[in-house]
C-alpha cells in the first residue's frame, strides 16, 4: 500500500465511521420524536 492509497483509506474509514456516529445520534433522536 503506497502513501496515497493509505491516505485515501484513512479518509474513507474516518468518514464512514463519523457518518455512522452521526446516524446513530440523529436516529435515536428521531426514535424519540416518533415515540413522543
Amino acid at each position: 500500500m503506497n502513501d496515497a492509497e493509505r491516505k485515501k483509506g484513512i479518509r474513507r474509514t474516518a468518514l464512514i465511521f463519523g457518518g455512522i456516529a452521526l446516524a446513530f445520534y440523529i436516529g435515536f433522536i428521531l426514535v424519540g420524536v416518533l415515540q413522543s
Binding site: I10, G18, A21, F24, Y25, I29, G32, Q35
Partner: protein, 533 residues
C-alpha cells in the same frame, strides 16, 4: 533486534519534542498524548476517589454526620460520572494511544491532530462538570443515569451537565474513530488482522462499541435539554412523553458502556498472563471471537437494568436469557487465561499479580451479575447495595486493576527504567486486601435489604458499613503508593528493550524508553515474525 533499533531511529533524529508547554498543548505525538491521557485519568481517579471518601465517611456509622443529603447525592452522582468518563475511559484511551501504534508497527495514530483535540476537550468537559459543585442548587444529584423527571430538578448545573456529557461523548467518538482508522489502515504489512495482539483486538471492538453507543447517550441528553428548555416532551408524561423511554435509550448506551470499560481490560490481561507464564496465549483466535460475541450481546441485554420498571413476561425472559448468554464467551476468556497459565513457568511480578487478582475478582463480579440477571431475583436485589457490590467488583478489581497491571507492565517501556518492585507489590497487596474489605460486605448489606444512594440507614447495617468505610480509606491511601512508584520510576535500573523475559510483540523490539518517533519505516518481516511468535 539491533536492526530494528537502527530502523526506527533512522529518521526524525534531527528533531525531538518541542520545548516547554507547547509540547503538550499542540502535541500530535501519540506517546505525548497517551501520557497526557494517563496523567489526566490519574488526576480524575483521585478527584473521584475523594468523593468516594466523602460517601464512605458519611456512611461509616448510622445517622447524618458530615454532609447534607442533597450534597451526598451530588457526591454519588459526580463520583460515578468522574470515575466512568474521567478515570477509566481516558486511562484505556491513554494506553491505546501509547501502545497501539507500537504494537501494530505504525508511526503514529492515523489522525494525529484530531487526537490532540480529543484529549484537550476532556479537561474542558471535566472543568465544566466540576464547576457545577459551586453553582446555585449544587452539582447534579439525580444519579449518573440522569433519569427524568428527577434530573430535570437539577438547578443551574443542568445545562452544564448536559454540555459536559456532550463534550465527553465527542472526545470519545473522535478517539474511537482514530483507533479504528489507525488499526484498519496503518498496520505493518505483515500484520494481518488475526495476527494482531489481543490488546489491539479488544480495543478495535471497543472502538466499534463507542461509535455505536456514545451518540445514543448524546441523543438522550440532547432530548433532556430540549425537554428542559425548548418545550418538548420526549420524556415528560404531562406532555405525552414517556420517562421510561429515557431509561431504554440510556441503557442501550449504558450496558455496552460497561463492556467499553472491560474489553480493553481483557486485552491487557491477555498480554500480561502469557508474558509471565512464558507461554503463548491459549486460544488467541477464540479470544477474539469471544470478545466480539460479548460486544454483540451487549447490545441486546439493556433492559435487564429495568426489570422492576415493568415489562411483558416475554421481554423479561428474553433479557434474562440474553444476559446469561454473556457468561459463555466470558467463560471462554477465563478458561483461556487459566489454560495459558497451566504448566507455564510462572513468575509473579506486580503486573502479573494485578492480572491474577483481576481474573479472580472480576469473576466474582461476573457471578453476581449472573445473579442479577435472574429477573425474579433481581426484583429483590434491585437498587440495593448488592448492585453496588456487583458493579464495583467489575470496575475496581476489574477495570482499575487491569489499568494498574498495564501501567506496571509498560512503565519500563515508557520511562526506560524499572519501577520499584517492592513498592509495586506493597501497592498490590494493600489494594487487593482493601478492595475486598470495601466491596465484599456490600453483598451482605444488599441481600439484607440496604438501599443504595442513601446517606443514612438502619442500625442493623452498621457493622458492615463501618468495615466497608475502613476498607475504602485503606484502598484510597494505598493508591498513594502507586503515585510513589510513578514518581520514583525514573530512578530504577535501566530497562532492557525487551524488559520482561517472556515478552513478545513489536513494542518490545523498540528501545526503552521508546524513542519519540517509532516505526517511521514499517517493521521488516523478520522482526515482525519474531514478534508474532
Amino acid at each position: 533486534m539491533a536492526t530494528a533499533a537502527a530502523d526506527i531511529t533512522d529518521h526524525h533524529d534531527d528533531h525531538g519534542p518541542a520545548k516547554g508547554i507547547g509540547r503538550w498543548l499542540f502535541s500530535t505525538n501519540h506517546k505525548d498524548i497517551g501520557t497526557m491521557y494517563l496523567l489526566f485519568s490519574l488526576t480524575m481517579f483521585f478527584v473521584g476517589g475523594a468523593m468516594a471518601m466523602v460517601i464512605r465517611s458519611e456512611l461509616a456509622v448510622p445517622g447524618l454526620q458530615f454532609v447534607d443529603p442533597g450534597f451526598f447525592n451530588s457526591m454519588t452522582t459526580m463520583h460515578a460520572l468522574i470515575m466512568v468518563f474521567g478515570a477509566v475511559m481516558p486511562a484505556f484511551v491513554g494506553l491505546a494511544n501509547w501502545m497501539i501504534p507500537l504494537m501494530i508497527g505504525a508511526p503514529d495514530m492515523a489522525l494525529p491532530r484530531m487526537n490532540n483535540w480529543s484529549f484537550w476537550i476532556l479537561p474542558v468537559a471535566f472543568g465544566i462538570l466540576l464547576s457545577t459543585l459551586f453553582m446555585p442548587g449544587g452539582a447534579p444529584a439525580g444519579g449518573w443515569t440522569m433519569y427524568p423527571p428527577l434530573i430535570l430538578q437539577t438547578g443551574d448545573a443542568f445545562p452544564f451537565l448536559i454540555f459536559s456529557v456532550h463534550l465527553m461523548g465527542i472526545s470519545s467518538i473522535m478517539g474511537a474513530i482514530n483507533v479504528i482508522v489507525t488499526i484498519i489502515n496503518m498496520r505493518a504489512p505483515e500484520m494481518t488482522l488475526i495476527k494482531m495482539p489481543m490488546f489491539v483486538w479488544t480495543w478495535l471492538i471497543t472502538a466499534y462499541l463507542l461509535i455505536a453507543v456514545m451518540p445514543v447517550l448524546a441523543g438522550a441528553v440532547t432530548m433532556l435539554l430540549t425537554d428542559q428548555f425548548f418545550g418538548t416532551s420526549f420524556f415528560l408524561a404531562a406532555g405525552g412523553g414517556d420517562p421510561v423511554m429515557f431509561q431504554h435509550i440510556f441503557w442501550f448506551f449504558g450496558h455496552p458502556e460497561v463492556y467499553i470499560m472491560i474489553l480493553p481490560a481483557f486485552g491487557v490481561v491477555s498480554e500480561i498472563i502469557p508474558t509471565f507464564s512464558r507461554k503463548p496465549l491459549f486460544g488467541h483466535d477464540s479470544m477474539v471471537y469471544a470478545a466480539a460475541s460479548i460486544a454483540f450481546l451487549s447490545f441486546i441485554v439493556w433492559a435487564h437494568h429495568m426489570f422492576t420498571v415493568g415489562m411483558p413476561l416475554t421481554g423479561q425472559m428474553f433479557f434474562m436469557f440474553a444476559t446469561m448468554l454473556i457468561a459463555v464467551p466470558t467463560g471462554v476468556k477465563v478458561f483461556n487465561w487459566v489454560a495459558t497459565m497451566w504448566r507455564g513457568a510462572m513468575t509473579f511480578e506486580t503486573p502479573m499479580l494485578f492480572s491474577l487478582a483481576f481474573v479472580f475478582l472480576f469473576t466474582i463480579g461476573g457471578f453476581s451479575g449472573l445473579m442479577l440477571a435472574i429477573a425474579p431475583a433481581d426484583i429483590q436485589y434491585h437498587d440495593t447495595y448488592f448492585v453496588v457490590a456487583h458493579f464495583h467488583y467489575v470496575l475496581v478489581p476489574g477495570s482499575v486493576f487491569a489499568i494498574m497491571a498495564a501501567a506496571y507492565y509498560w512503565l519500563p517501556k515508557w520511562t526506560g527504567h524499572m519501577y520499584n518492585e517492592t513498592l509495586g507489590k506493597v501497592h498490590f497487596w494493600a489494594s487487593t486486601i482493601f478492595v475486598n474489605l470495601t466491596f465484599f460486605p456490600m453483598h451482605f448489606l444488599g441481600l439484607a435489604g440496604m438501599p443504595r444512594r442513601i446517606p443514612d440507614y438502619s442500625t442493623q447495617f452498621a457493622d458492615f458499613n463501618t468495615i466497608a468505610s475502613i476498607g475504602a480509606f485503606g484502598f484510597g491511601l494505598s493508591q498513594l503508593i502507586f503515585v510513589a512508584v510513578i514518581v520514583t520510576a525514573w530512578k530504577g535500573a535501566k530497562a532492557t528493550d525487551r524488559v520482561w523475559e517472556g515478552s513478545h510483540g513489536l513494542e518490545w523490539t523498540v528501545p526503552s524508553p521508546a524513542p519519540y518517533h517509532t516505526w517511521e519505516t514499517p517493521p521488516k518481516a523478520r522482526i515482525a515474525d519474531e514478534a508474532f511468535e
